[in-house]
Symmetry: C3
Subunit: 359 residues, 3 copies
């Protein structure tokens, strides 16, 4: 399968310079691209590599085109955001290469008679769809998925195999959910009664917007009384835990292994690094970036990047610094004592000297 | 569905003040409760909100009732522990609202002829039950669960869909296991032989007590030679890892993303915060609370709260403090040098002055 | 079932001292072994316990045998690496005790007609095998596993129930994959376009070598353009996240809850501790050991052990030290001020004294 550059530009825009009939069979990085592929330059520091790439065509910015375009023998597509253009071009190729999914319900699926499955949807082998569930147009429900009662899944969404969605949760359109994800399990809610725990029924739902992606084995708990909400365009990596009653603002991206504790509220356009932990009941405003491995203990009211993890060192060096960290108070006391001693010396000595003078 | 307050009090106890025939349709927090709901006051600082709630009735302590009860227009239930009472009341409503599960084995389930399934149990679609397994009375086994050979599941337990239990593990009564949980996978046991790893077969089991709850995608490994033990009443959140041969004491609660390394022994009535990590082969006594994001490296022999995570800061500030943490030894040396200098000054200068005096 | 020691030695090697017809029914640690079991001594500090063990036979090193062998009443097997020998002996017993798996495809499995399943392989209930997949000889595919199109699984591999393998991934021979594992889900790749995210199709694969073991609920993402690679003999514990385009060198062991970010390259014979996090796009050479709870931010070019986590303390002590860590810069300024003051004092005071002298 190969396409002509003009097909790409007709679909995705951009300014094409060079032979519009140039055929490309796929997309690859500067260093790997063959003479039948298209590549992209998204960072000016790679201009030298761009000049040497074998690719038949290149996607680049106007600034980069002004700098190196004239030297480049192939065709160029000038785009405002070459990296986003690359992503869209890769989607274009992927769509061309995709094996079409024939709609229908696999004979080994178990769909409740009281569920509604759109005629264009696909339900895989051993998938289970509960009573009152609604599976939208062109939804692709992978093998082994279990969809609870009253769940709704919006048009064009893709659930990879072995996803579990508990009763009453709602999933938007064009949302992608990877294998092993569990949506709507009970939040961790218990009342302590003399040491033992009394379960608080979790009767809220999980509401997931459009164009969300959820990575493998991520878990999103249902709300206790109100709902857990994931707004549109949120991207969640693998192995993330989102606790009950969290609210994740639109277009926020969360990297793998992060944990968001109960009732935390994260704004729009934020990023949360891998294994970062967001404490419960705090609020983080829009455009906040929490670094990997960082625990956010209190609300963050100002945009910016926030970090907090212990620096790695050779083990012996860490042992020394960790011992000192535990004894910082002693260090501070020593500094105070020194300050006091010096103050006394300064006050006392010239005086003594002066006293001597006056004798 | 609504109930009269006297039904609640007959079932759960508490002192009812006001109209016992007041009907309530559900339970909600102070701020959200409508005139047809019951609410609760579990913290004296919310007394002002309680005075203004729209709820038809309120659960509160004797002290709070003495303080604000007279001002409240609705009915009151005075309870020793209003938050626990709320939990039980919510369970009461949830039970009334629950869709009953008809016992039986779904036609798409695969139950080994040598398994024993109680007549009152339910086995969902595509669930698989191995030879020699025992499924107790009123057990609810969700769709896609795979139950190994010789497993026993006690009466009244609920396994949500897509849970996997390996051979020979035992699960108590009234235990709730959420989707994606894996119980009894092999512990991480290998002998190193000149750089490569020789697998140590993991022949122990996982023994889980009564009234345990296990959150989505949590994993509990089987013991190497002895068993991994989770005592009664333990509550585990999502995405937790419990390694081989761990022993978790009764009524201990562990928050999401925590990891308990091999052969660790945690006491009763402990709490382990989110993403906390407990080192292998250590012992933690009863009533210890490990904060979120904390790594417990050594045994803890005294009850109390223990913490250890790097404080979050703006990225630039963190960079400075992290660089200083790595160089704390230098700081200490400087303090020592200062102490020495000052000591010398103090010893030396008055002497010089004195010497001058004597000249 | 019991075996004679000579069977063990014929199969595993080692020097047998004592009655070769001694029968043993299993293997147990020094303290637990009964008179019908074999035990092992892998650490000289346990020599006193070895002298008192009830075991019928003991595996030990030549050095330990020289020290205590003469005092031991049972048979001895002298091995170069007693702990590895123990592992192999335990495997020997486990193999004898194993319930044989009859080859064949369970009637409730869904195998695509265009898949190739070896005659000696087993495919469990509700397992799904896609078109073009190749399932090797003696492969054991657990119930509920979903194997994508074009996947290949090498001879002798064991996939426990509910494993998901996405299209086109390759798994070597004798590899063990535990329940809940997801292999080949999309990497977390998006281009930012004015705040929103454009998905970058993940078209690489996951390539897993021979003799790998992957713990429960671990996830390994497929590469973006190139492949994610797990070399032979790698051992991964539970709940690990390996991102797109990572390369894990042969015989490296990674403990539970660790996360390896995108395009990280870890050498051979490394170990990564529990909940450690390896940053994206960094390289770690062979024989590096990263401690538990440590975040590796930059490449590591020298073998050795590396650590970085905040030391645990009683909560109040931590609060003090954490406050000081945030203000280390102030502490440094104070030390500088002290150094300056002392320097001034030293320079100034003797001079004043001298000046007085000269007056």
């Amino acid at each position: 399968m190969s396409i002509r550059l003009k097909e790409l530009v007709e679909s995705l825009g951009g300014q094409l310079i060079g032979d519009a009939d140039t055929r490309v069979s796929g997309i690859a990085p500067l260093s790997d691209a063959s003479a039948s592929q298209i590549t992209f330059l998204s960072n000016p520091k790679f201009r030298p590599q761009a000049a040497q790439t074998q690719a038949a065509a290149i996607i680049l910015s106007a600034a980069d085109d002004a700098a190196i375009g004239a030297d480049y023998r192939g065709a160029r597509i000038v785009a405002a955001n070459p990296y986003a253009y690359f992503a869209l071009a890769a989607q274009f190729f992927a769509a061309k290469n995709a094996i079409p999914v024939a709609p229908g319900i696999h004979p080994a699926a178990s769909v409740d008679p009281a569920a509604q499955v759109a005629a264009t949807a696909y339900v895989g082998a051993n998938a289970v769809v509960g009573a009152g569930a609604t599976i939208g147009e062109h939804v692709n429900l992978g093998a082994g998925c279990v969809i609870g009662r009253g769940v709704s899944i919006g048009a064009g969404s893709l659930l990879h195999p072995n996803v579990t969605v508990y009763d009453a949760c709602q999933i938007g359109q064009r949302t992608i959910i990877h294998s092993g994800v569990v949506i709507g399990a009970d939040g961790f809610g218990f009342a302590n009664d003399g040491g033992t725990w009394v379960k608080i029924p979790q009767t809220g739902r999980v509401l997931i917007g459009d164009d969300v992606e959820i990575g493998a084995n991520t878990t999103i708990d249902r709300g206790a009384l109100a709902d857990t909400v994931i707004e549109e365009g949120v991207k969640l990596d693998n192995q993330i835990q989102i606790a009950h009653n969290c609210h994740i603002g639109a277009h926020t991206a969360i990297a793998a292994c992060a944990g968001i504790a109960g009732s935390a509220r994260i704004g729009k356009f934020c990023s949360i690094g891998g294994a970062a932990m967001i404490h419960g009941h705090i609020t983080i405003v829009d455009h906040v970036h929490v670094s990997a491995g960082t625990l956010a203990l209190r609300s963050i009211s100002e945009p910016g990047q926030y970090t907090g993890f212990y620096p790695i060192a050779k083990h012996g060096e860490w042992e020394k610094s960790a011992a000192l960290v535990r004894n910082l108070n002693t260090m501070r006391e020593k500094i105070r004592a020194l300050e006091k001693s010096i103050k006394q010396l300064i006050e006392q000595l010239p005086q003594q000297v002066t006293q001597k003078d006056n004798e």
